[in-house]
């Protein structure tokens, strides 16, 4: 593996890592900061991908689809929080596992009834549909570079929001001790609804942005679900910085694992997770 | 030095920059109540955690009944006869008073968990354990609420259950962290009588703010301020000690 190849693989691992962060961003909010074990995170991701497919099919523009899709998923998040999740903040993790596992079944069937079981592809917007030549045989798709930028911006934005803004302070206070925060005048009910809706919207946004790369197919959500939990848990529950670091780490292990240790590739990520949890039981960046 | 049931030498505990307990040495002798008083944040509770093994000391030695027990985890210390109660009531709320006591009483000679005997024998059909629980219950006067679930007891009675559970493990040394906290006058009175009765056969460390109880019970008094011991001795001497007055008891004492 010469230097050129190594640097490209490094770029691949960073790109996949940032992609994983985008995937797990919604989960860092709902599971990380609000402490709700949300197994339906994969379903929101799948929902985003199918919305992107439906809207780009109807209007032909991914940008428009993303805007409409995000608005729709915020509404869905708000609704779900009001009807269901509001009653589960103080329930045990077990009840949350059960609730969200039931939702997986429901979302999977609704997707099948609404959009069928076909495999679809979503077009990359024309202005991004080109590649940069890296070597005489390999070039790098511009859309992935665009995603690189988007994910980094999102990582920075989310980190700033959570740790630097007033809202972020309220969110962290609410997560740390919701009764105390309430006593301090934070409208906890509205805050939870907002954070939950943001979490669902982020998961759907990931689906919409990754759809052109991943194509849209049944059960795509359940394939990413476990990886999202791995990222959030390794990073340290509730830490945005942790999720980003963990995502990059998993991207590294997965990319180079496939190339150097193909026969153990699938187990490597879980070995990494087990090691981190045993060495630092609360994850890398526990608050 | 040898007949001290519990002896601590140079115990310190540092939380990052804060030195919560600074080089404290003290000994507990049988049939003696050693009270520790001091303003809030003086490190009294941290000291009990260091003695009981709830917290690992940054430095210092610990001897129990003459044997070095430095660094032992607290379940081993407990088995060696070092029982402790907690400042914040720490009992099994869903269980009845009797079940709380049985669980405590059973710890002493429980089979190891991987020993099949501990899977098949009946927990409530062990005469020794039941006797131990019965004794602790009568001592603490909880017979009336024996089959009530701990959750619905009044705060005072829960504190009594806390003490009874410690007694049920039949310890040699008792570390009591503010047993009278949140108790009404009547309940406090019964508790003081109970502690008075317990003085025999046990070495007792009493962390308490209720000065009447302290001066009624204590044989030795230690005053801690900001993690360090500023005075130790018989209660009467401590009362007059100028330094203590300045640091803790405030202006002229009555």
């Amino acid at each position: 593996m010469d230097l050129a190849n190594f640097s490209i693989q490094l770029l691949n691992s960073v790109q996949y890592g940032l992609l994983l962060f985008l995937l797990a961003a919604g989960l860092t909010l709902i599971f990380g900061i609000m402490g709700v074990v949300n197994l339906a995170h994969g379903s929101f991701y799948m929902l985003g991908a199918y919305l992107a497919y439906a809207f780009t099919g109807a209007w032909g523009s991914l940008a428009l689809a993303v805007v409409a899709g995000t608005a729709l998923s915020i509404a869905l998040g708000w609704l779900l929080e009001k009807i269901l999740f509001k009653h589960f903040y103080h329930r045990s993790h077990l009840d949350q596992v059960l609730l969200t596992f039931g939702l997986i079944y429901i979302f999977e069937e609704l997707r099948s009834m609404l959009w069928g079981d076909d495999v679809h592809s979503v077009g990359i917007p024309a202005w991004l549909d080109w590649s940069i030549k890296l070597t005489e045989t390999l070039s790098y798709p511009a859309y992935r570079l665009f995603m690189l930028a988007i994910c980094s911006a999102l990582a920075l934005g989310l980190w700033l929001l959570i740790s630097k803004t007033k809202l972020g302070m309220k969110i962290r206070a609410g997560a740390f001790n919701s009764d105390m925060a309430q006593a301090m005048g934070v409208n906890i009910v509205r805050l939870h609804a907002l954070v939950f809706a943001m979490g669902v919207a982020l998961a759907a946004l990931a689906g919409m942005l990754i759809a052109p790369l991943s194509s849209v197919y049944p059960y795509m959500g359940s394939q990413v679900l476990i990886m999202c939990f791995v990222v959030v848990v390794i990073g340290g529950i509730g830490s945005v910085r942790g999720a980003l670091t963990a995502a990059l780490l998993v991207g590294l292990v997965d990319t180079f694992g496939k190339v150097l240790l193909p026969q153990f590739a699938s187990m490597l990520v879980y070995v990494l997770m087990a090691l981190v949890l045993l060495y630092k039981p609360e994850g890398l960046f526990k608050q | 030095m040898t007949d001290a049931l519990l002896m601590a030498q140079g115990l310190s505990k540092r939380f990052g920059g804060l030195l919560a307990v600074n080089d404290v040495s003290l000994s507990l002798f049988k049939d003696q109540v050693h009270a520790v008083i001091g303003p809030n944040g003086a490190g009294k509770t941290t000291l009990t955690h260091l003695l009981s093994g709830d917290l690992a000391a940054s430095s210092g030695e610990l001897w129990l009944n003459g044997e070095s027990v430095t660094g032992w985890p607290h379940h081993r210390l407990s088995l060696q006869g070092l029982g402790r109660s907690y400042q914040k009531t720490n009992v099994f709320l869903p269980l009845t008073v009797w079940d709380n006591l049985m669980l405590a009483a059973q710890a002493r000679d429980a089979h190891a968990p991987f020993n099949p005997l501990s899977w098949f024998t009946r927990a409530d059909r062990n005469p020794e354990v039941s006797a131990r629980a019965e004794r602790a219950m009568t001592l603490a006067g909880l017979a009336a609420v024996r089959d009530k679930s701990a959750a619905i007891l009044s705060h005072g009675i829960q504190r009594q259950l806390e003490i009874a559970m410690v007694l049920a493990t039949e310890p040699m040394v008792l570390l009591l962290d503010e047993p009278l906290a949140g108790m009404g006058a009547a309940e406090a009175e019964t508790m003081v009588q109970l502690l008075q009765a317990l003085k025999k056969d046990h070495a007792m460390l009493l962390v308490e703010h209720d000065m009447d109880a302290v001066f009624a019970l204590a044989d030795v008094l230690t005053v801690m301020v900001n993690g360090t011991v500023i005075a130790t001795g018989p209660p009467q001497a401590i009362r007059e000690d100028a330094q203590v007055q300045a640091a803790y008891l405030g202006e002229a004492t009555a």
């Binding site: 997986i104 039981p281 | 049985m102």
Partner: protein, 327 residues
């Protein structure tokens, strides 16, 4: 010594009645039911053993494992590896070995896993189970992604599990033994301590219990019992595959235990039968005016699960007891 008051260990009479009725039905069932239903009920009993083994962890000790299927599937594979191509393996040697293998793996994994707490315990148990799943999924030597056949089902001393009836009653006896063992465990010093650990681990340690050893023993025991269920599953289907250790099967076990109600072993048993019955009921729903209800069984299953977690947080058992408040 007075019997303790309303307690997890003593089941309300209504549940005891249900269990006795159920037992009578189970004993008589093969003579009334078709061959297929005998096999279906055998599978329900196997899943009941699996659910009860998880209840020892989840309901009694308070440890939520999202990777319990690893030990279930592993024992099935041990049977497959030890089954000769053309003859049935000997139950007397293979069953204990399979259970021991699962218990041993549970001990090793448990040693690492049990030191973590709360949500991290859930996640790390899942991580280890996924490791085991991919170990078998990726290695052709271990059967690969399509799994392995058990050509002839195990037998011993004239008791041949090829015969569906023998397998049925063998499984029934195993289920009753596991139920009896775990119910007795609730009353044992070990069980009482596990209960203490679930309620307040810190206080339990302060009383003198090494809670790590207790939790590790419970994890190992639960692994071994799950192994028993996995062995029986392999013996019944004659085919083991990596999905038996997969995330889906672990989640299935959690749902059975929660549906039934946790902490008293009977809940897990009722939950296993209830969950399978609902699954079959929804799948066999007829076409109603052009809308094939059965095809959308996932929708009804999802709705049922959400409903249960909202109205019956303590599961079916909770419903039976919620009317009769404690004193």
């Amino acid at each position: 010594m007075s019997a303790p008051q309303a307690h997890l260990e003593t089941l309300p009479r209504s549940v005891q009645l249900l269990l006795v009725l159920g037992l009578i039905a189970l004993v008589a069932f093969p003579f009334a039911g078709q061959d297929f239903y005998t096999q279906m009920v055998t599978r329900m009993m196997i899943l009941a053993i699996f659910a009860m083994s998880l209840d020892l962890l989840q309901g009694i000790t308070g440890l939520v494992s999202l990777g319990h299927a690893a030990y279930f599937g592993l024992a099935g594979y041990v049977l497959a590896f030890m089954s000769p191509a053309d003859a049935g393996a000997n139950i007397l040697t293979t069953l204990p070995l399979a259970v021991l293998a699962s218990a041993l793996v549970a001990l090793v994994i448990g040693f690492f896993v049990v030191r973590t707490q709360g949500i991290y315990f859930i996640m790390v148990t899942m991580a280890f189970a996924q490791m085991l799943y991919y170990l078998f999924f990726d290695n052709k030597g271990l059967g690969g992604s399509d799994g392995i056949y058990i050509n002839v089902r195990p037998a011993v001393l004239g008791m041949d599990l090829e015969n569906k009836l023998v397998l049925y009653y063998f499984t029934l006896v195993c289920m009753l033994l596991v139920y009896w063992f775990l119910r007795r465990l609730l009353w044992s010093p070990f069980g009482r301590t596990l209960n203490g650990i679930r309620l307040n681990e810190h206080r339990t340690q302060a009383l003198g219990y090494a809670s790590f050893n207790y939790k590790l023993t419970a994890f190992t025991l639960a692994g071994g019992l799950a192994g028993l269920a996995g062995y029986l599953w392999g013996a019944q289907t004659g085919y083991v595959n990596p999905e038996l250790m997969g995330f889906h099967m672990s989640a299935h076990a959690i749902m059975m235990v929660i549906l039934g109600g946790m902490g008293n072993v009977a809940g897990a048993l009722i939950g296993a039968f209830g969950f399978e019955l609902f699954l079959h009921l929804f799948k066999d729903l007829p076409k109603v005016g052009g809308f094939d209800m059965g095809k959308h069984w996932q929708l009804w299953m999802g709705a049922l699960i959400v409903l249960v977690v909202i109205i019956a947080p303590q599961g079916l058992m909770g419903l039976l007891r919620s009317r009769k408040q404690d004193d």
